[in-house]
């Protein structure tokens, strides 16, 4: 499993559109589960409503866990996506 942290810079937080695009990105990696954690709550990156349900705001730090499949490639892609969009 690969794990890293990211602090949200987008002024609204993880809002609908980037949340949806993040899900699409996560689905690109077959056999790989991407989980987003905020505090004691977590959601699969592919589940849009659950992800928005975390209520991640600007300045919040999230933990990203990547498990199974090509973990290295998936983690790198997710990190690049976060840097660019959130």
């Amino acid at each position: 499993m690969k794990q890293f942290e990211y602090t949200i810079k987008d002024p609204i937080g993880i809002h609908a559109r980037p949340a949806g695009l993040l899900g699409k990105k996560a689905k690109e990696f077959e056999g790989c589960t991407v989980t987003i954690e905020k505090g004691d709550k977590s959601a699969a990156a592919t589940k849009l409503m659950a992800l928005m349900g975390l209520g991640v705001k600007c300045g919040d730090t999230i933990t990203i866990k990547v498990e199974g499949g090509d973990e290295d490639a998936a983690a790198a892609a997710i990190e690049a996506f976060l840097n660019e969009n959130l």
Binding site: T7, K9, H15, G53, C58
Partner: protein, 543 residues
Amino acid sequence: MIKYTGKGVYGAVAIGVVSVFKRQNTNVERIRITDPEAEKARFVEAKEKATEQLQAVYEKALAEVGEEEAAIFEVHMMMIEDEDYNDAINDMIESDLVNAEFAVASARDSFAAQFSAMDDSYFQARAADIKDISDRILNCLADNSISNDITGEKMVVCSDDLAPSETVSLDKSKVLAFATAYGSSNSHTAILARNMNIPAVIGLGREFLDAIADGQQICVDGYTGEVYINPDEDTVSRLTKKRDEDIAQKSRLKELIGKDNITIDGTKINVFCNIGGPKDIPLVNENDGGGIGLFRSEFLYLENSDFPSEQQQFEAYKNVLESMKGKKVIIRTLDIGADKKVDYFNLDDEENPAMGIRAIRICLTRPEIFKTQLRALYRASVYGNLGIMFPMITSESEISEIMGFCDIVKAELDAQSIPFSRDVELGIMIETPAAAVISDKLAPMVDFFSVGTNDLTQYTLACDRQNPKIERFVDTHHEAVLRLIEMAAKAAHDNGKWIGICGELGADTSLTERFLKMGIDELSVSPPSVLKVRDKVRSIDLS
């Protein structure tokens, strides 16, 4: 004639006929079914149809209101495919043996309730999107689409509130105005009205909803928020006049785009904009603002659940400076306190908060907060033409202290080889009588003054801004306030500095001539007032 008052979200006037927005009744019956697979197939089919519709709405929105507003329909398509939402519906059909309609409505209510219960207004508002997609699926299941097409003349669309997809699906060329019982200034109805430049009044209340019927005569005044159903002759003629003048005025002001703010005798002044966050920048450009005279940095603190980091502030300031492409951007350091409360600042309750720990007083008491903001500002300064302005100044010693912090921050950045602009202008707000009275002593210490007329008036007249009961004692044109501004203007010019006005009086065109005679160099106003002020400036002769 019946009159209703709501909130005008776009200033314009319309006189026309009511078209009540009709929608499918989405209260559904619970029906016991025997074949869950068939029911699930109905759901899948309805979903496919809904997605097709959304794709069409998305393309229409893209063409009509732009990518940013259209993105919501892309999100709707993603939401329809959400795993949890689909599981909830399919599970319910299977385990409870209910019809697809009932399962969709249940999922709608429970997901919407979850979002409504969140503590952030952005996420709360997503409940409306859940309702919107669910109701769309319900309409597809029922397979009857209600037509809201308006035939013949343009109409005033009246409704409780309009969902995003509803506003987009309307034929815009047939809409004269919007009048809704509910909604907020940030609702899609409001955004659409502003994009279309047609009047809209929201929040007219339940009674309005009960009173409207197709074919009624209606007048909508987006300036005052007043709506008249079956107006009498006097009202119609009064508002017809207002509408015609408004149209003439707007087209005249539009011609001023790209022109100088120059008086008849050739004095040029700057007309800048006051903004509350990056979202207002498109408005500045639309209205041809020459720069930003007051950028309130509070949004960074108010919209956050903890102190915004240096990096986060840096990104926000850089963003604004870059998008203004070299035009002046004056950012005011945090003005928290008084009426702007933020939990994590842990400020004590005060007897008299307007005169308490606020603005620069917080910064000088808690330097770590101040230094973070200054570092972020200086780091961002290389991306544009930055000015920094400090609020609530009363003395020379405060300015010395501030300059000391700026020097420390600059020295630290130098030591770390982090680049920053050496030409950042530093100025102060003149918003206390004390600052105006000793402005001759303060002017040599700074690069510019900007008069905050709202607080200056409150402190000079000893009238609380928040107290509606003393409104009749608040003379916004009080000679005492004007003389204080004049005093500051003289002090600024005697020292070769410039002075602007960023309070509400800056946009009061009945005072523009007096201000220009005092020598005011810059007026910073809300974006929609720029052209009105430009028009006034161009009619003044100072010779």
